[in-house]
Amino acid sequence: MAIVSSLRGIGSRVVNGVWRIGYATRFFLMTLLYSGASFRRFHLTVKEMFSSGVMSLIIILVAGMFVGMVLGLQGYETLKRYGSESALGTLVALSLVRELGPVLAALLFASRAGSAMTAEIGLMKATEQISAMEMMAVNPIARVIAPRFWGGVISLPLLTAMFSSLGVFGGYVVGVVLIGVDEGSFWSQMQAAVDFQHDVLNGVIKSFVFGVAVTVIALFEGYDAPPTAEGVSGATTRTVVQSSLAILILDFILTAFMFRGD
């Protein structure tokens, strides 16, 4: 009997999970379908870019700076063994632009802006603001969800660029200013080694994909949250956990396609 009931438990969880994925997919498609107003009335999107972007800005800048400084230290230690300290600039820049920038900025964005988005939408639903909008003949997907979606999707690549730039600067401070690596070779090797399309563009594509994943998860969790305090707080936690996992898994898939065989 225990086996039957635990099998039944597993079965119902799987079925529920599949239903939720279905709902989330439909929610995503509806968001795209009703995105017209987000561009026709672009100020709605700009407002959301401002709130999600500015909210994460400080944490992104500070984190970027320190990650770059750590890369400077660790990179120098390792490169020195092979006598190639002059490649420090290349190492710092490539690590940031290809991997650490997009992934870490997305993780920080998910925990800062993503969780706030879930809580905001969840509360709007719990306090009947979403129902009120529907009764005013305004489609909440078009008016509330889509601008936040595009605001997040546009913000994250910009934040990622700032993260990577400050990271490079952090690597420069540690490597060149503090340790004394030659400044000329730091910059020139970096410039020679970083390819725009292969490295920068792929990094931007990654952060765009992460932006879609994080905002869709955050908005769906908020929209789908039970209209109670526990419902909203549970949804906020799920947003952070699910989007972090999604970022890391998607990163592996994208990396496998972008950077194999070189």
Partner: protein
């Protein structure tokens, strides 16, 4: 009730997952009148409003608004109909990220191409109508409960709806705000030439302002009439409700089986 009906509810039945909530509801809201729906919490009052707004679809019967069966409309038709309706939600449901001004201007910006100067004047007029001129730059969090309810009222009437629905507009208000909101509901209904439906369990306040009352219990209408009919009603349920008595057909005890058995005393 003589004049022409704006809303007709005929034999409406509704169930949430096979649990019946509405059982054969018949109501008529004549144009220009203020009608109350009263009953205990959970008796289905909000569910009736949701049917009028086209959010829910009856399992039997129909709801007609302005001559059209609301649940036969497609999405566009429904949205066009809802523009002519206003709904005041329990606790107001103001948009918390917008100022009072932007809340009241919301529907004007979404549904009209009016220039900003005209929207400004309209917002000022609506705020003036609810006595809150001068609060336009405040955020909802900075308002008292009674003020928030009045701002929500201003937002509800922003586009001069023909039908205004109020879901427990008196809930959680102090006695003075309660009278103010009650008088506003009456005045706005008459000034706009609208038809209003008030869902409430505040008997004393609503008896002062409404034209007609339906009493709902457990998903069915058990009494109806004008305020005077209701006050004079001999119906024991209505009497218990109006005068807030503990003894009557509405039991104090949940139907929870045999109390003595649970105590182990035996039946």
């Amino acid at each position: 009730m003589s004049s022409e009906a704006l809303v007709e509810i005929r034999d409406v039945n509704f169930a949430y997952d096979s649990r019946p909530i509405l059982k054969g509801i018949n109501m008529t809201f004549p144009k220009g009148k203020l009608v109350a729906i009263m009953g205990l919490s959970g008796c289905g009052k909000t569910t009736i409003l949701r049917h009028i707004g086209g959010v829910l679809k009856p399992t039997r019967g129909y709801v007609k608004v302005d001559g059209q069966v609301i649940h036969d409309l497609d999405q566009d038709g429904l949205y066009r109909m809802r523009r002519k309706m206003g709904m005041l939600f329990q606790f107001g449901a103001l948009f918390t990220d917008m100022t009072v001004y932007d809340n009241v201007a919301f529907q004007m910006r979404e549904h009209t191409d009016l220039p900003e100067e005209i929207i400004h004047d309209l917002v000022m007029m609506k705020l003036h109508a609810v006595g809150l001129h001068g609060t336009q730059d405040l955020l909802p969090a900075e308002l008292s409960g009674g003020m928030a309810r009045r701002v929500a009222l201003a937002r509800t009437i922003a586009l001069d709806p023909m039908l205004i629905m109020y879901d427990e507009p008196f809930a959680g208000l102090d006695p003075i705000s309660l009278t103010v909101v009650g008088q506003l509901i009456r005045r706005l209904n008459d000034a706009l030439g609208a038809t209003s439906v008030v869902v409430t369990h505040d008997v004393q306040e609503s008896l002062k302002i409404v034209d007609y009352i339906y009493f709902v219990s457990d998903g069915a209408i058990i009494a109806e009439g004008t305020a005077d009919d209701i006050r004079a009603s001999g119906e024991t349920f209505v009497h218990q409700f109006v005068y807030g008595e503990m003894d009557g057909p509405i039991p104090f005890h949940y139907p929870g089986g045999n109390y003595n058995m649970d105590l182990g005393v035996g039946a």
